[in-house]
Each structure stands twice: as C-alpha cells, then as structure tokens.
C-alpha cells in the first residue's frame, strides 16, 4: 500500500519529467549543439538562480502562503552585495555572501512576521513588500550601477567557475535543493510545514508551533533569495536597482509547473527545481531553435500551459485508477 502513496508522489513529478525529456529530445534532435556539454552547461547556469528561488518559494508555498517579494529581495541583496564589494574591496568575499544571505533572511523575517504573527494574508503582505523592498532598493541605489570592473574578479569567477565540469552556481543550487528536500521529507519540522499548509486549523490543534514554522519558512525562503542575489551579482556582473524585476512570476510559475499545490500541503522541492529547469530550458530551447523572436513569449506561455495541463491529466488518471481500487485499498 505504501507503493500507492509512493506512486502518487512519483507521478506528481512524472508529468514534468516527461515534459523535460520531450523538450530536450526535440530541441536536441533539431540542434545537437543544445545537448553539447557547453550547451548543457549553459542551461544549468541559466536555471541555477531560478531553481534556488523556486526551492525557497516551495518552502513558503507548502505552508499555504506565497512570497511575491522574492524578486525585490534578490534585487536588494544583489545590489547590497555588489556595493560592498565595489566600495569596500577589503571585505572578504565569504563575509559579503553571508551578509547577503542575512539581508535576505531579514527581508524574509519581515514577511514572516507580517504573515505568521500579524495574520496578513501572504499574497497581500508580500505584494506590499514587493513594492516596499524595491522602493528601499531604489532609494539605496539612487541610480547607481555597479559594474564588472568594480567588483573583484575572484567574485565574478564564482558566477561561472566549474567544479568537476559543473558550474558552481548549479552546484550551489543542487546542494540547496538536496538539503531542503531532505529536511522537508525527513525532519518533523519539515513535515509540519506540509501539515500547516494542508490544514492550518488542524495544525494548531495538533500543537504545531504554527507561527514559528511559518516565520521560519519565510526566513529560509528569504535567505535563499539573498543567496540568489549574490549569484545574480556574480553571474551578470552589472547590478543596479532594477535587478530581477518581475522575476517573482517566473519563480511562482516554476513552482506551480513543478507540481507544488499553490494552496499548500503538497509538492516537493524536486518538482519545483525541475519546474525551474523546464522553464529555463524552454527559454533556451526557443532561442536555440531559431523560433521567431516575436513568437517566443507566446510559445513560452503555451508551453507553460501545456506542462501544467499534462501534469494535471496524469494526476487525474491516477486518481481514477485509485478510485477503482479503493474498495480493496481502504
């Protein structure tokens, strides 16, 4: 019977794996360069930041919340980090990275307190902080731009260096993914996040410290957004106050495409990361396939829809076969 639950869990990600295989297969067949080592490296690099963000977002979304402010947190962290690197080159890089993560965590804490303690619905609270954090970022930057030449080359190298042939940002994202995935699956604290998302009232009755868990989910999500900000600065090398504007919808799309229920309670970070991979894969594929530039956005949207529909249809099929067998499976 555990097979059952296991099967459902696997099927939830199956849809998107199928979509990924199709995407890579078709694109690779048309243009083998897409699947060359360098091509794959590009895709990993492209998806690293969004994947990191999607993992953080998943933490929040499973608790039946959402963090729209991620893009602003990435922006503020990227700018903050770049500014310190440019103006205070004596500060060691690891300290800067830690600082950015902390800055992100602090933003996450603001969201977490608003949502967990002050009981502002997450969509409202983080739509508010989406504006507010960006406002702070703009005020801080005041039109300034930090350029590649202003930042230490050692830092910029982090954005593209390879370890064993795999780009460093992708490794970071993978590490984050595995760590968070492990916590969510194996630790009671992780399970409790799912419980909160599945039924907040029942979670209170079960004696789960709901506030604390929700706040920590936001803080962790914020910290990952801070990390993503550093990755952004290292990778693009040009940072101003508009960094990552509008990326919040991409992140949420990745999470949703990855099969994480937007109303909480189910879904995995692996799915979300696959979703991120799929979405950046689509963008890359469209660029590689010589799809008419004007049609790209439309095709992108259509593919997102196709992916969620595929996922849904597979889930429905499973549900149907499950009902047929329910009598014996009760």
């Amino acid at each position: 019977m555990t097979v059952f639950a296991g099967r459902i869990a696997r099927v939830r990600e199956l849809g998107i794996v199928v979509a990924l295989v199709v995407l890579f297969g078709v694109t690779g067949a048309v243009n083998p360069a897409f699947l060359s080592p360098a091509g794959l490296r590009d895709i990993l690099l492209n998806s690293a930041i969004i994947a990191t963000l999607a993992v953080g977002q998943t933490l929040v979304v499973v608790t039946r919340n959402v963090d729209l402010s991620v893009s602003s947190v990435v922006g503020i962290s990227a700018f903050g980090g770049a500014l310190i690197l440019a103006d205070h080159p004596q500060v060691p890089i690891p300290v800067v990275i830690a600082g950015c993560v902390l800055l992100g965590a602090a933003c996450g804490a603001v969201n977490g307190l608003l949502v967990g303690v002050a009981k502002v619905p997450a969509l409202v609270a983080t739509l508010g902080t989406l504006y507010a954090f960006r406002g702070v970022d703009h005020a801080w930057a005041g039109g300034r731009q930090v350029n590649a030449a202003d930042m230490p080359p050692g830092f910029l190298r982090l954005g593209s260096a390879d370890v064993l042939g795999v780009p460093l940002p992708a490794l970071v994202a993978l590490t984050v993914l595995l760590a968070v995935g492990w916590v969510l699956r194996n630790l009671p604290q992780g399970r409790e996040l799912y419980a909160i998302g599945s039924s907040p009232e029942a979670a209170v009755l079960a004696g789960i410290p709901v506030k604390r868990r929700v706040v920590s989910a936001f803080v962790a999500g914020g910290a990952l957004a801070g990390l993503a900000g550093v990755m952004w600065a290292a990778r693009f090398g040009t940072v101003d106050a508009t960094v990552a504007t509008g990326k919040e919808l991409d992140v949420i799309a990745a999470v949703v495409v990855g099969g994480v229920a937007i109303f909480g309670g189910s879904g995995t970070v692996y799915g979300a990361a696959l979703g991120a991979l799929l979405l950046s894969g689509i963008t890359s594929a469209l660029a590689v396939l010589r799809v008419d530039a004007l049609a790209q956005t439309a095709v992108n949207g259509a593919l997102i829809l196709a992916a969620i529909m595929l996922d849904r249809l597979l889930a429905l099929r499973v549900a149907r076969s499950l009902r047929k067998r329910r009598r014996d499976a009760r």
């Binding site: 059952f4 639950a5 209170v204 004696g207 789960i208 909480g264 009902r323 329910r326 009598r327 009760r330």
Partner: protein, 489 residues
C-alpha cells in the same frame, strides 16, 4: 486528576460557560450531557487549551495550571477528540495520527516504518481496515472520526476527552471504541465523554455532568438515574415520545433508483421511495450509503443506472437539475458540504432558494426567521456567521436551508448527527409531519433506534450492495445488524 473550578467563558455577548466546576477522576469515565449550545464543546476546548477561561482555574493533580495552547494541554497528558474532525487532507493517514509527535530515528529523522506499524496496530485495535498510507483526503466523516480517535489513543494520555466521537459511527465501531475506552479507564486513565446518545452514556460512564445554558445543573452517578431523569436535567422538562412517527399511506412512487452503480463504491443499487414514506438506509460505516445519496442527488457522477423522480428521469451529475425536480440532500458533512461557514445564518438558509435576479432582503429574512423558529435554532442574530453556532445548531441551519425549498423528495444523511435529544424529537416530529403531508424521505442513519423508530421501510447496505429491504414490521435490531454485517438473517 484534571479539574475545572468555577470556569466562565464568553464569546462577545454569548456566555458559553458560567461558573462550571468538574472533576475528572482516574479510572472513571465521566459523561457530559446537555442540549445543543449548552457549552460542552467549549468546556472541551478549555480542557484542551484551545480557549482560555475568562475566569476560574484549571487544576492538574490539584495544582493550578494554565494551558496557553493545545501543545501545553498535550504536554500535560490530555488527549482530545474534537467534535469536528481536523485532519490534514494532503498527508497520509499515518502521518495524520502522528503529526506533532513523529516517532524519530537517527539525526532526528521521522521513522516512517514505526509510524506505519503503530498506526496499523491502532486501527486493528479499533477494528478499522484503514490503509495508513492513503491520504486523508476523501475519507468519509466516519473514517475521519476514526482517525481522530486513533490519534488521541496513540497519545497514550492520562486524560482522554472525547467530544461526540460516536456521532458518525454505527454500532460495531462504537462498541470497539468503548472497548478501548474501558480498557484505558481500567488502566487508571480519566475519560470525559460527550454525546447526545443517552444509551451510550449509560453504557460507558459512571458519572454524568449535565450542562444547561453554560451552567452545571447536576452531577449524578449514572447507576442512580434513568434516561428520563437525564433528559429532564438537560431540557428542564419532560419530553414526548422520541420517535413520533405517524402512520401514513404511501402514495405515488416519488423516487425510483434503478441499478445505480459507481465503480469501486457501490453496485447495482435499486429501490423506490413513495410519497409519504420514510425509508431508512442503514448499514455500517463505509457501506456506501452516503455515496448512494450523493449519486442520486447528482453531486457525484454515476457509472450506470438511472434515477427517476416522480416518473421523470434525472440527468446524471447535476444537483441543480435534481433540485429542480424537487430533490433535496442534507449532506453528512455540514461544515464542508452543508454550510458556508463565513456567511450569516439567513444567507445560508437562503442559499438553496437563490434566483438570478434581484434579491429581497425582507423575504430572505422572513423565511430564515420562520425556519429558525420552527427548528428552534439558538442564535444571537440572524446576521451572525454560522461559525459561532454550536454543532447541533449548525445542523439545524442545514435542515432549515433544505426544508425552505419545500422538496418533494428529501434525502437526509445523518439528519440528527450531533443534535440533542430535545431537538432530535423535534426533527423527528417534523420529518414525520412532512411525510404525512406527502414528502418522500430517504433517511441515512447510523443510529439504530432512530432507524427502527422512524422508518416505514429499512434498506440495508453492505459493502456497496443493497442486501435487505425490510418493512417496518419485520425490521428488528437483529435483522438489520445481521444484514449490515453481511451475515444471513
């Protein structure tokens, strides 16, 4: 062991408890009786740390304690089964049972295997064939209740508080639950048992405390009093017959169900209900009764078979059409299916009679008032959200909402679940009166006395099939139970 001293609790203007004292002794099962809205659940929630008393104190082993939340109560050894199941639909049944106190392995990891075996063990003690790995979503109310029970039992607590745990259960499950509760009691635990079924209190408990309007009326030793005494304490007066079924002459066939099948749920169900007739659908939990009702009403699709109302076929899967044909369904899960909890009482009652055009508030109010009075709903104002009503009063609102439509065929799924004796008699009288006026009633009930007392005919389901059709005269407790458990009568 656990005691309340002079506890009061108000919600706004409503004084739910006033100066209540209660002692739970080790090795004793204590019953809590009272009408709907008397304050039983509020008392339970104070014991479990959900609410904090405005005045008065909680004593644990003689020492005053304060519970700041359910976690505190749990730490103090209090396990609670709430009146409304509160499960995590997305999580597995096993995880539901152990949420908040997972068994651990190295590195603080959750021990899934232990969770599974312990859940299986609990379910076998309760005699429920539930799969611990299935998600809680889609469990019937009864199964949900059983998971709640397993949850509380798994806690191995010193005090077990049960708020109407049996409301959705039928005979055998209740028996098993009592078996487990008795053995806990005999191990020196304290048990608090809330129910509207008097026989159950007498069967399980030693003492009973009766609440009326939030205050304690009396605490009696059950062996010294009769059910009538208890009813008098609760209601403050004597009650007329509980099941006042008037004899009626069945008229035309109002509802005809033919070979109805929904794969994996029920098979080949055929029956008729005539105008003026009350037909009971009996069976064990999970026999598929509610599912039949849902398919007849059209909220679930059917895979085969047909439904006719007054000779006209009903299209599958359209509640709107069923309603237009005069069918009404009072569903079993009032919070999810019966009520829009955030809406006011009057708007809930008005929900079934909505027309597309402009609404008349006056008419809506008038209809709501009318039905609220007829069903004796206890409320502060008709504009209050139904959330603030006690469980039984919520049930009455659901009834009112459907009766307001003046249906031709009324399907009621556990119509008196969680309703107190006084109101139950009232509901029964009402059903019987409506039947006498020509209404066809299909009543699903897990309470055998209700089935036997009210029905003109008893249909019994077992594992998704209709196994018996007994006229009133032949419907005895033995025959119904035999059919329901699949034994030849």
């Amino acid at each position: 062991m656990l005691a309340l001293r002079e506890v009061s609790k108000s919600f706004g203007a409503v004084r739910a408890l006033r100066g209540v004292s209660l002692d739970l002794a080790p090795g004793e099962a204590h019953a809590l009786a009272g009408e709907n809205g008397a304050g039983k659940s509020t008392l339970v929630k104070i014991l479990s740390g959900v609410h904090r008393p405005d005045e008065g104190a909680l004593l644990l082993d003689g020492e005053p304690v304060e519970f700041h939340g359910p976690a505190d109560a749990r730490a103090a050894g209090v396990a609670v089964i709430y009146q409304e199941p509160a499960l995590f639909p997305d999580l597995s049944v096993a995880e539901n049972v152990f949420m908040g106190r997972h068994p651990r392995r190295s590195f603080g990891r959750v021990d899934r295997r232990a969770m599974r075996t312990r859940a299986l063990d609990l379910f076998s003690r309760l005699g429920v064939p539930l799969d611990p790995a299935r998600p809680a979503r889609g469990l019937s109310i009864a199964d949900q209740q059983l998971v709640e029970i397993a949850k509380a039992l798994s806690r191995d607590a010193r005090v077990l508080v049960m708020d109407e745990p049996t409301a959705a259960l039928s005979g055998p499950e209740v028996e098993r639950l009592f078996g487990v509760a008795r053995s806990l009691r005999d191990q020196g635990r304290a048990v608090l048992f809330v129910s509207h079924r008097l026989d159950e209190m007498f069967a399980l408990c030693e003492r009973v405390t009766t609440l009326r309007d939030g205050a304690v009326v009396a605490t009696d030793v059950l062996a010294d009093i009769t059910p009538d005494d208890l009813v008098r304490r609760m209601v403050g007066r004597d009650l007329a017959a509980l099941f006042p079924k008037q004899p009626t002459v069945p008229g035309e066939v109002a509802l005809k169900v033919d070979r109805l099948t929904r794969e994996g749920v029920f098979t080949d169900v055929s029956f008729e209900v005539r105008a003026g007739e009350i037909v009971a659908l009996a069976g064990l939990v999970g026999a598929g009764r509610s599912e039949v009702a849902r398919a007849v009403f059209g909220v679930d699709r059917r895979d085969a078979g047909s439904v006719h109302v007054a000779g006209r076929p009903l299209r599958a899967g359209s509640p709107t059409e069923a309603m237009a044909a005069g069918v009404a369904l009072v569903p079993e899960d009032r919070r999810q299916q019966g009520l829009v909890m955030d809406l006011s009482i009057e708007r809930n009652i008005g929900l079934t009679t909505l027309k597309w055009g402009l609404l008349s508030r006056a008419a809506e109010r008038a209809r709501a008032t009318d039905w609220a009075i007829r069903l004796q709903v206890r409320y502060a104002g008709l504009t209050d959200a139904v959330t603030v009503l006690s469980g039984g009063n919520q049930q009455k609102v659901v009834l009112a909402k459907w009766l307001a439509r003046k249906p031709r065929v009324l399907i009621v799924d556990e119509p008196t679940r969680g309703i107190d004796v006084g109101t139950k008699a009232e509901v029964h009288r009402l059903l019987s009166e409506l039947a006498a006026e020509g209404l066809a009633v299909l009543m699903i009930s897990s309470e055998l006395p209700e089935v036997l007392g009210m029905a003109d005919r008893v249909l019994v389901m077992h594992e998704g099939r209709l196994v018996a059709d007994l006229p009133r005269a032949e419907a005895t407790e033995e025959r119904v139970v035999a059919a329901a458990t699949g034994r030849p009568a």
